[in-house]
Symmetry: C2
């Protein structure tokens, strides 16, 4: 079984694009023509299929955020699972943004659910406030080619209330978390030197990202906060290693609802927005001599 980091880097190479599109459907922003006569889940699925068809030539991975599906109960969860199936049928990797966390025996159920048969994602986001025994069941799935991204420094305004606090040895809480991520990732390094254990590091905190890049040299960063949340292309550059790898930048609303700004059909607009995002990031990386292709 190939290591998830190798699988992801190969997909990034193929598209020459280290970016990911977040599938965060909001029913009130889905065009009426898509919604007519359908349950919320059916409408979301059809919307996602349109987006996936329009972006699959340009991005290596999609990141559905499960909260927007849970809102519609079992109908929404069905749409989430069928979105994953559809994305995989289009040769996209799927990172489930679920931020699951619990004690060991319960975390095992989550790992089985999301990285096993029921949902079938390629990777998940994990919140490690509970420490290693809540992370271990996800780690065990790395032997099956699965990946995880652990929250380290999140993109939201209040992330510092806990994550920035200094410990008695001078490190910030997010640095401690980063060291744990580096340790957990030790046993699942792929052929290209990156680990199947990645880290979530917000584009909105580029200085912290620079430090974190050194603490977790082999972790692939999932970088939210680009676009709608205010992070620009230059802000994501510190998340990349000198070799031009080591990060995937996410945009959700900025791509999937691009038609609201750009006009035209929702899917075509999303395709154009995904291409523009690739262009934007590539320019910034080239300027920093971090474009690998």
């Amino acid at each position: 079984m190939r290591n998830f980091a190798d699988i992801l880097l190969a997909a990034i190479d193929k598209k020459q694009n280290p970016s990911v599109v977040g599938l965060d459907p909001r029913l009130d922003r889905i065009p009426d023509s898509i919604k007519e006569g359908k349950t919320p889940g059916e409408a979301i699925l059809d919307f996602n299929k349109g987006i996936i068809d329009a972006i699959s030539h340009v991005v290596p991975m999609v990141k559905p955020q499960i909260a927007f599906y849970e809102q519609y109960g079992a109908d929404g969860i069905r749409a989430f699972i069928e979105t994953i199936e559809y994305a995989r049928s289009k040769k996209l990797l799927v990172l489930e943004d679920v931020k699951r966390n619990d004690i060991g025996s319960t975390a095992k159920a989550y790992a089985e659910a999301h990285l096993g048969g029921a949902f079938g994602g390629d990777a998940v986001t994990v919140n490690a406030y509970l420490g290693s025994d809540g992370v271990k069941p996800f780690l065990e799935k790395t032997s099956e080619g699965k990946g995880l991204f652990i929250l380290v420094k999140t993109s939201n305004p209040s992330s510092g209330e806990l994550q920035d606090k200094l410990l008695d040895d001078g490190r910030a809480v997010y640095e401690l978390m980063a060291e744990l991520v580096d340790k957990w990732g030790n046993d699942c390094i792929g052929e290209r030197g990156y680990s199947a254990v990645g880290a979530v590091v917000g584009a909105t905190y580029p200085k912290e990202a620079e430090l974190l890049r050194k603490v977790m040299p082999r972790a692939i960063f999932l970088v939210p906060g680009y676009g709608a949340q205010g992070g620009g292309a230059d802000d994501v550059v510190p998340c990349f290693n000198p070799d031009g790898y080591g990060a995937v930048v996410n945009s959700s609303r900025g791509v999937i609802f691009a038609y609201e700004k750009l006009g035209g059909e929702f899917d075509e607009a999303a395709g154009r927005a995904a291409e523009a995002m690739r262009e934007d990031i590539s320019k910034a990386l080239k300027k920093a001599d971090k474009w690998p292709w």
Copy 2:
């Protein structure tokens, strides 16, 4: 609209029992006779109905753990939602153990899902690693009589890897989280002096609980770790205030799979185990002069 803390305390008074039963179904431990000819979700729902019927006379609240339902995709989520409906029809409060967490706009979707129409729980567990803007959407639901329990010091063996670390001012990370919980709970104090914002404090760490009781005097503690995880009745006593309120103790496996040890029908065994748990806790609280009835 009544405050969730008042609703919960009234339910505890009615049963004279500050305990809660965790509905964490594991298919391999559900009797074959319940599973025959059913989907996993249907079997889980029937199992839960049997448990609920057997315990509803003795406990004020149940706590379904969503991981064990997510394992079965949409079928499992349907069982989770129908379990909530059934429990509420039997006048039980329902605390959804979901440990959800995300940035503000996403946390809002989670709060709508679980404390709104789709799932309809009375309260949820929340992981606040992301700080206040991820908590706020749940807080807003307290005006609708809903509650939340924020992870402070969890019951698992590795909880200390992050939570016990000392900050540069000498406080542990869990103390900082406790102070945030106290602050967040300030604006939703009920008539009886307790807040709709509670805290998760493991029975496996009684010394930490003693300190945390002082830091969060008005928070109701959800106390996991009793029973299968190794915490005893004496260990939960520090979680209660001198008035005998301020905590609900959870047992999951020890009650719902009691038939494996006690023999007999699964539901009757669960009923007896729930009664025994009440008795066990009441003895310890009486000994400490913390039994309010």
